[in-house]
C-alpha cells in the first residue's frame, strides 16, 4: 500500500490468523472450497484412449498409456495452491508422477531444452520454463485427496506446478514438449503473465 491508496470507508475485512499469513501471497485469500475455472466444457475422461507423451520439439521421446503411466513411480505431495482469481488453498494433497520420474524414464537427467509447452485435450496450452518442472517442483497428478482426480479438476490427469498461479497447472494434460523458444500458451496470449509467480503477483501481462 502506498500513500495514494484510497481507503475504502467502512471496510474492515476478515483477518486471517498470523500463522497462515506467511503462506498466503499478496492479494490472495484462503478458501476451503475448491473452485473450478476452465474456459469451456469439461472433457469426459477416457482412460482407454488416454495417452501422455513427452517430446523434444516435434520428436516424441515416449508415449504412455494409462496402465503404463500408472506403473511409473508414484509421488505424494502436500502443497499450497494459488489461483489468479485470488483464492489460495493450503495443504492440498496430490499423487502422481513427478516430471523427474518421466525424464528418468526416457533416459534423461535434465530437460532437453529450456522451455516447455504443455498441451491438453481440447487444445489448451500453457508454457513453463523447463527448470520450473524439475527437481520435485512439478508432477502429472492423477489423484487429489486420496481420490482419482475428478473431471472438473482436470481428471484423469493434470499438470501440477504449485509454485506458479494455478492456470499453469493445466487440466486434462496430454503432452509436454520441450522447446528451444518460449511460446506463450492460451491464457498467456490472452493477457495473463507469461511466468505467473504468485509471490510476485505476476497476474497479467506487464505485472
Amino acid at each position: 500500500m502506498n500513500d495514494d491508496t484510497p481507503i475504502s470507508r467502512g471496510f474492515s475485512g476478515r483477518r486471517r490468523a498470523d500463522a497462515d499469513a506467511k503462506r498466503i501471497p499478496p492479494g490472495q485469500h484462503l478458501t476451503s472450497d475448491f473452485p473450478v475455472l476452465s474456459a469451456g466444457p469439461t472433457p469426459e475422461p477416457d482412460l482407454v484412449n488416454w495417452q501422455f507423451s513427452l517430446g523434444d520439439g516435434d520428436t516424441k521421446l515416449c508415449e504412455w498409456d494409462w496402465a503404463q503411466f500408472g506403473a511409473l513411480t508414484q509421488t505424494d505431495i502436500t502443497v499450497d495452491i494459488h489461483c489468479v482469481t485470488s483464492w489460495s488453498k493450503l495443504d492440498t494433497r496430490w499423487r502422481g508422477v513427478s516430471i523427474d520420474t518421466l525424464l528418468e524414464a526416457v533416459g534423461l537427467n535434465e530437460p532437453p531444452a529450456p522451455f516447455a509447452v504443455i498441451t491438453c485435450e481440447g487444445g489448451y496450452t500453457t508454457n513453463v520454463p523447463s527448470e520450473d518442472l524439475i527437481d520435485g517442483k512439478a508432477m502429472i497428478a492423477t489423484h487429489f485427496d486420496g481420490q482419482p482426480l475428478s473431471p472438473e479438476h482436470g481428471g484423469p490427469a493434470r499438470l501440477l506446478v504449485p509454485h506458479l498461479y494455478f492456470w499453469k497447472s493445466a487440466k486434462w494434460v496430454r503432452a509436454i514438449e520441450f522447446r528451444e523458444e518460449d511460446e506463450p500458451g492460451f491464457w498467456e496470449q490472452l493477457g495473463y503473465h507469461n511466468y505467473g509467480d504468485p509471490w510476485r503477483e505476476q497476474r497479467y501481462d506487464g505485472d
Binding site: 491508496t5 475455472l37 476452465s38 474456459a39 466444457p41 472438473e152
Partner: protein
C-alpha cells in the same frame, strides 16, 4: 470463422481509484455500483476487473467482478451478489455508498467476450449472478441496434431473485431478435409463465438454436450449473469450440 474477438484493446493493467457514483438495488441480495474512473473506456462485453479494498489500517482484500455495463454505457457498472459470510461482497451490497472509493484494474480476460462484430446466433445461459457478463453482451447488442439472433436462458432461485428483470423485458420488447426464457428453481409463483426447475436438456433444446445454426454459446454461473449446461450442449452435438464458460462461486462440495 471467428469464435472470439481477439482484436481487444490491451491497456496496461494499472490500479486506479474507482469512485462510487451511485448504488442501485437490483434484488434483495444484489446491488449495482455505478463507478467513476479516471481512465476506463475500452473494454469488451464479458470482460472482468479485479477490485481491491483497503481498510484504514492497510489490510487489503481482492476479488474479481464481471463488468455489467456495455462499453457504450456512460458509466462502468459492477453488479454484486451478497454472499452470506463473504468478505468483500457484503461490503459492496450493504455498506458502500456514493462517494466511497476503492481500487480497480482491468479490463481482464479476452476469451469470454462477445461483440456485435461476431457473426451468427448468440446463445447465452446464465445462473444467478452469472447473468452479469451476459447482460453486458446484451446491452452492447442493443446499443448497436444489432439484430443478431440472440437467446438468453436465465435461471434464478425465485422470481424476486431475477436480476435486471425489467431491463430484460424492455430489451425483448424491441423485437430485434432477442428472446429471453426464465426458469425458477425454488418456487413456482401463481401466474408464472416461465419454466420451473433447473436447466435441463429439454429446456436447452427448446430455447436454444440447432447445432446447424452454429450458435456462439456463453455459459456463466455456479460450477454445477455450468457443467450441466455445457455437458448437455455437447451431447446435442454443439461444437466444443463454440462453447465458452465462466464459473463463479462455490463448487457446492
Amino acid at each position: 470463422m471467428m469464435v472470439t474477438d481477439t482484436a481487444a484493446p490491451r491497456p496496461a493493467l494499472r490500479w486506479q481509484t474507482a469512485e462510487v457514483l451511485d448504488v442501485i438495488g437490483e434484488t434483495a441480495r444484489v446491488k449495482t455500483l455505478l463507478l467513476k474512473l479516471p481512465d476506463f473506456t475500452k473494454y469488451l462485453p464479458g470482460q472482468h476487473v479485479d477490485v481491491r479494498l483497503t481498510a484504514d489500517d492497510g489490510y487489503q482484500a481482492q476479488r474479481s467482478y464481471s463488468i455489467a455495463s456495455a462499453p457504450e454505457d456512460k458509466h462502468v457498472a459492477l453488479t454484486v451478489e451478497r454472499i452470506e459470510d463473504g468478505e468483500v461482497s457484503p461490503y459492496f451490497t450493504d455498506e458502500v455508498r456514493a462517494g466511497d472509493k476503492f481500487e480497480m484494474r482491468g479490463p481482464i480476460g479476452r476469451y469470454f467476450v462477445w461483440t456485435v462484430k461476431l457473426e451468427g446466433p448468440l446463445f447465452l445461459i446464465g445462473g444467478g449472478s452469472g447473468i452479469v457478463p451476459l447482460m453486458a453482451m446484451l446491452r452492447h447488442r442493443a446499443a448497436h441496434a444489432s439484430n443478431t439472433p440472440a437467446r438468453l436462458l436465465y435461471s434464478s432461485r425465485t422470481q424476486s431473485d431475477i436480476i435486471y428483470r425489467d431491463e430484460l423485458d424492455r430489451l425483448v420488447s424491441r423485437n430485434d431478435g432477442l428472446a429471453v426464457t426464465h426458469t425458477l428453481t425454488r418456487e413456482k409463483p401463481a401466474g408464472w409463465i416461465g419454466h420451473s426447475g433447473r436447466i435441463d436438456v429439454a429446456m436447452l433444446a427448446e430455447t436454444g438454436f440447432t447445432v446447424d445454426q452454429r450458435p456462439k454459446i456463453f455459459i456463466c454461473g455456479p460450477t454445477g450449473f455450468v457443467e450441466a449446461a455445457a455437458n448437455a450442449l455437447l451431447a446435442f452435438g454443439h461444437d466444443r469450440a463454440l462453447i465458452k464458460t465462466e464459473r463463479f462461486g462455490p463448487t457446492g462440495r
